[in-house]
Amino acid sequence: MNHSLIKFARKLPVSGKIGLALVSFWIVIAFIGPLLAPYSPGAFVSMEVFADSSGDFWLGSDFLGRDVLSRLLVGARFTIGLSLIAVTIASVTGTGLALTAAVGPRWLDELLARAMDTLISIPSKIFALVLVAAFGSSLVLLTLIVSITYVAGNFRIARSLAVGLAQLDYVEVARARGEGRFHIALVEMLPNMIRPLFADIGLRFVFIVLLLSGLSFLGLGLQPPNADLGSLVRENVSGLGEGALAILIPATAIASLTVGVNLLIDAATQGKVR
């Protein structure tokens, strides 16, 4: 496993290696970030707000005089964790429904497709606003909202892939052999959809990071004292005028995470990397 991972990394083009480095960096941070944090993320430790970097506060302080580095190390876990869970739920549900639609009877296909069209026509931010307003903000609800928002897009892509594959001769052969729908969907079709699906998952992960950050920015995401990268940007927005590190660093963090994921996915799905 370890060996094949190294081989995979070696075969990647330069852009892919940069992406892999960025992604690995953020994953490591998500796991051990809180252990590295020099201060408690909620503690008011600096006497100065929007301080520049110094020996005590490497990345300066925020609008309340909290340590930016500590808050970033803790906040990254929320952004990455929530996005990963949400993208997994969205993709598994979307692809599962798409395969059901592709091998199922026509009425089911039609029903699912129209239901997804309905879902896709609801603006995601408004949808989130309404649900948060109705049920109050919680981690579980946030994850669910974000997953549901992105199921429809994944469904459409996976369904068009599956419908294309369903016409191919090897699927016909399996059908003529008398294979069940389950086998056809999971063994004959799914392995041939993985590559484009991963490209889609990468994009969706980025959208989810941005949506979560956007929601946090609006104050609907994670509630204080917790903070993800998006809320870090929002709460320090008043420092924008003076170019405070407290706002630049979380913004750069979001950018590097999304760019890294995209670079990696692009490189991994383009060439013949196995």
């Binding site: 090897y170 016909e172 052969v173 008398g178």
Partner: protein
């Protein structure tokens, strides 16, 4: 004028190099040199992978990405390299290209005329009106129907053979010096191929251009080329004038190619009367919707009968659109017939897969034409075969492995391919695996849908031999579907000729050796190119069809609009009777045996 003018094309030590799978440079064209005199046609012939298309593309100064060209190429005053004029500058103007698949080469969303005159406009060889006038002239020369208006259609509104000729018009519009034909008729039916070849040759003579004709079919090349260059694995095996090469091939490989052009399979011992295994009775089928009376809008098969004996081989031939693949799909249960039924050992089979027992499914296996899409690229050879063994025979673990090894042995592949994925195999190997998957079920009958059509002649011969051996050793029966009568004759005991979903002739293989035939069978047989020069006539019998103006009607003989021997007031009034001839074959025709023999 010099006594010996310089040749139009000079190629010296042409090498094309790519990076091989192991990272080392791999020469796909290796030190190839040849000359072509002005106005002559040189054929590049060889199997797939022989580098023939690569050489043809190199003559336009082009190679696929990742490949590099070295050596000297000179065409007229242009040469490969950086000194002007380069080959690349003349591409599309003085040097033009006709690709194999016209259907893929035309843009489906633009009218044909706009695309045909595009090279003339890009290279500014004339005003749009002049280009259009020349295009119409070319359409007429290429014997296209209604030359004035065909340009206003879209590519999907004309037939495959017409599209191929239209692409030739596109190549000739700039009055090129050199035209490269890359397998232009390979994707066409034999009957269409004859028309297209005739049109190409006629126009070519008028244009006085030099030609490069790339093909794997020696018989086609014999009609078109003055010189033949035989290639194998990127190297020249032999170059000679067509007449000399056909008469006395000097190289072993050339002889292999010539032998493969006429597949001969060791004869089966004649079986007096095979007990019927699969009985297809009165099958009708269609795609798309049916009207209120249950009649389909587009019948693909109407009332087809066919019986396959145990261990027998029945061939079905016809052009594309004759419904021959539909028969296989109906028998396999992939398409429900609108009428009629399929009997296996006297027991009726359910119309679709869902209603059949696993045992019934096991006994009837289908093999598709194109192994590239018939084998799942995500699975290894072992997975593919193992799945069938587990599904039908419950074989697992060591037992399954042993059976997979035995299957690979049967189809003569090394046991090491078990772990390979199908995209790592060659075309012939893939087709063997495709076939082994059907064999894994241990079936009684295998439906072979054009299994040899996508293969080179040499590989095709090997696959046919394999099929014949398996039939002898395992006693499996075949329903063998093909558009190529020579292939069918080599393998089958009985042949059914299908035209537009109706059976026009049925008979034992031997009855197809000499007339009398149904007029359509006659057309099919006479359309197969023969391996001699001068086989291709300048006109076809088609032109003489007396009812060419009539549109096809399902209640009359479907062949009527194309039939050269149709009888007025009979063929256009009443449906044809089934007639049993003295040779034992049954034909659907108004003409009597004596008339058909004449």
């Amino acid at each position: 004028m010099n006594a010996a003018p310089a040749p139009h094309i000079e190629v010296r030590n042409l090498c094309v190099t790519v990076t091989g799978p192991d990272g080392a440079p791999l020469r796909i064209v290796d030190s190839v040199s040849f000359d072509v005199a002005r106005g002559e046609v040189l054929a590049l012939i060889g199997e797939s992978g022989s580098g023939k298309t690569t050489i043809a593309l190199a003559l336009m100064g082009y190679c696929r990405s990742g490949a590099t060209i070295s050596g000297d190429i000179r065409v007229g005053d242009a040469s490969f390299g950086n000194t002007s004029p380069t080959l690349a500058q003349q591409r599309g103007h003085r040097i033009t290209y006709v690709a194999q698949s016209a259907a893929a080469a035309f843009n489906p969303s633009r009218r044909i005329m706009a695309q045909v005159i595009e090279p003339a406009l890009i290279h500014r060889t004339g005003s749009p009106d002049e280009a259009k006038a020349r295009a119409i002239e070319l359409f007429r020369a290429l014997a296209l129907p209604s030359p004035e208006t065909i340009g206003n259609r879209y590519p999907h509104e004309v037939s495959g053979g017409q599209l191929q000729r239209l692409m030739a018009a596109m190549a000739l519009i700039t009055k090129p010096d050199l035209v490269i034909f890359d397998e232009p008729t390979t994707a066409l039916d034999v009957t269409t191929q004859v028309e297209v070849l005739q049109a190409f040759r006629r126009v070519f003579r008028e244009q006085e251009a030099t030609g490069i004709y790339v093909s794997h079919d020696l018989a086609v090349v014999a009609q078109m080329a003055d010189q033949i260059l035989v290639l194998n694995r990127g190297q020249v095996r032999e170059q000679n004038s067509t007449a000399a090469l056909l008469k006395a091939p000097a190289d072993d490989y050339t002889r292999t190619l010539m032998d493969a052009a006429h597949p001969v399979v060791r004869a089966q011992e004649p079986v007096a009367r095979r007990e019927p295994l699969l009985d297809i009775s009165n099958i009708s089928a269609s795609y798309g919707s049916v009207d209120s009376a249950g009649r389909p809008a587009l019948p693909v098969l109407s009332g087809v009968n066919l019986t396959i004996g145990r261990g027998g081989a029945v061939g079905v031939i016809g052009e594309s659109g004759s419904g021959k693949s539909t028969i296989a799909r109906v028998v396999a249960g992939l398409l429900a017939p609108t009428a009629g039924n399929v009997l296996l050992d006297g027991e009726p089979l359910a119309p679709t897969v869902a209603g059949r027992t696993r045992e019934q499914l096991r006994r009837v296996q289908i093999v598709f034409q194109n192994a590239d899409v018939a084998l799942n690229p995500a699975h290894s050879v072992g997975d593919i075969l193992g799945r069938v063994l587990r599904f039908y025979h419950g074989a697992k673990g060591a037992d399954a492995q042993r059976r997979v090894a035995r299957l690979l042995d049967l189809i003569r592949l090394p046991a090491s391919v078990v772990d390979r994925r199908c995209d790592e195999l060659s075309g012939g190997q893939k087709q063997r695996v495709n076939f082994a998957r059907a064999l894994a079920a241990d079936p009684d009958v295998i439906l072979c849908d054009e299994v040899t059509s996508a293969l080179d002649t040499v590989v095709r011969g090997a696959i046919l031999d394999l099929l014949a051996d398996l039939r002898r050793d395992l006693g499996v029966a075949y329903l063998f579907i093909s558009h190529d009568i020579a292939t069918v004759k080599a393998l089958c005991d009985e042949i059914v000729v299908l035209y537009k979903g109706t059976r026009v002739e049925t008979g034992l293989c031997e009855t197809y050796a000499a007339p009398p035939f149904h007029p359509y069978t006659d057309l099919l047989i006479s359309s197969v190119p023969e391996l001699r020069q001068g086989w291709l006539a300048d006109e076809t019998a088609q032109v003489r069809a007396p009812f060419a103006h009539l549109s096809e009607r399902p209640d009359l003989c479907r062949f009527l609009p194309r039939c050269p021997v149709a009888i007025a007031n009979k063929c256009d009034m009443t449906p044809p009777p089934l007639r049993r001839l003295s040779g034992g074959n049954v034909v659907l025709c108004h003409r009597t045996e004596a008339e058909l023999a004449g």
